[in-house]
């Protein structure tokens, strides 16, 4: 096991827990969306840490491809969540 692999994998797990805690404890929708994004970044970091194979070695491309699609899906899900939130607020005000 590599030092960097372990360090960033643990960081990823930490970010996942932090994001989950935030998503449960925040009151506003915007705050929760940010927390879910931090949570997702933690999962991505775990994947990329496991793909890392040390200096001078080509990393595993499969997790990279998965995370790349994940980043794009995450931003579109964020946009959809924000649009839903806006619609919710509009219907509250009516």
């Amino acid at each position: 096991m590599l030092f960097a692999e372990i360090t960033y994998a643990l960081t990823g797990i930490g970010l996942f827990a932090l994001g989950l805690r935030g998503a449960l404890l925040r009151r506003s929708l915007l705050g929760r969306i940010i927390a879910i994004n931090v949570c997702g970044a933690g999962v991505f970091m775990l994947f990329v840490a496991i793909a890392y194979r040390g200096p001078g070695q080509a990393p595993d491309a499969l997790p990279h491809a998965l995370v790349l699609t994940g980043i794009v899906v995450a931003v579109s899900a964020t946009a959809l969540a924000l649009a839903l939130g806006r619609r919710l607020r509009d219907s509250d005000h009516e």
Binding site: I33, I50, R53, V75
Partner: protein, 324 residues
């Protein structure tokens, strides 16, 4: 030996900073600060990807994770009336319990991870990817996985993007546009937008053999759209709605067309005929770039731009909204 230890110190510093910024983005009471911390967090995560030898991800994260998400959150913050509420994070015994549960979960995950990673040499697909790379038509292994080995997944991902943007379009009209930019910002936009389009074209072309590809190129085009929108262009430089519909579905259309043709030739769905892989991948990626850029631009606008629906159906939407 010294150099290795210095690297380890940098790794610890980067990991600590990432966790700290993540904490600040999630736990601060003020939403405005949370958004700003989140953007900084995204940039730092891009640095982590670069450190872990994932330049494709670093490019995408900087453009999408930090840039576009940040722009989206900032524009959402604009219509948040209580952005400065100081009690956004719950406290008390519930918070303590949730924090404890989170810590326990993280500890359990860490235990499982250390034991599975350390137990045996894990089975990796990397060797197969390296072995098959010369047959894939491209030299960048990430592009090979996305557009050749696992092309089916990428097709379905484009379908997910289309579903998300259809949801956004169905939810209501676009956000109110920004006012026209002053001469300084306008001049900057005139310089930056062509540069961004040029960079997008380069990333699309370079993605075959170097970091880059459809996602990064699409994000660059979307960044140009965000710039235009911030400068007061109501529809962010997008073409008219009928053309928007074509662009939104271009990626899926190119994928399905290639898939149907390969099936017609007696090959498997999306199994590129020998020698054609490189050209077909570039064709699909070009279409996907336009689709991703249009999707992200419409997501930033946050709803239907003017001209998407006729007056009749707009009335129906208001009625449904009024019934709530």
């Amino acid at each position: 030996m010294m150099a290795v230890q210095l690297w380890q110190l940098l790794d610890l510093l980067l990991a600590g900073l990432t966790l700290g910024l993540g904490w600040a983005a999630v736990s601060g009471p003020d939403l405005r600060r949370s958004v700003v911390f989140f953007i900084a967090f995204g940039l730092l995560v891009a640095v982590v990807w670069a450190r872990l030898r994932a330049p494709d991800l670093a490019l995408a994260e900087a453009a999408i994770g930090a840039g576009l998400s940040g722009a989206l959150l900032l524009s959402a913050l604009r219509d948040e009336p209580d952005a400065e509420t100081s009690d956004d994070v719950r406290g008390g015994p519930v918070a303590a319990l949730v924090s404890l549960a989170g810590l326990a979960l993280a500890a359990a995950f860490a235990w499982v991870m250390i034991h599975t990673l350390g137990a045996a040499d894990p089975v990796r697909l990397a060797d197969q990817i390296t072995a098959q790379l010369p047959n894939s038509g491209v030299g960048n292994p990430v592009t090979a996985v996305l557009l050749n080995f696992r092309a089916y997944d990428t097709l379905l991902e484009l379908a997910v993007l289309l579903a998300a943007v259809l949801g956004i379009l169905a939810l209501g009209p676009a956000r109110t546009p920004y006012r026209a930019a002053g001469p300084l910002l306008d001049g900057l936009i005139r310089w930056l937008v062509p540069l961004l389009i040029l960079t997008a074209g380069y990333l699309l072309w370079a993605g075959a053999h170097a970091p880059g590809g459809a996602f990064q190129a699409g994000a660059m085009l979307a960044a140009a759209a965000v710039m235009l929108r911030l400068g007061g262009h109501t529809i962010a430089g997008l073409p008219r709605p009928p053309m928007q519909r074509i662009l939104l579905t271009a990626g899926i259309a190119a994928f399905v067309l290639v898939g149907v043709i390969t099936t017609g030739l007696g090959l498997a769905f999306l199994q590129y005929p020998g020698g054609w892989s490189g050209g077909l991948i570039l064709l699909i990626e070009a279409a996907a770039t336009l689709a991703i850029a249009t999707t992200l631009a419409l997501a930033y606008i946050g709803g239907r731009p003017a001209g998407w629906v006729s007056e009749g159906s707009a009335d129906t939407t208001t009625k449904i909204g009024g019934r709530d």
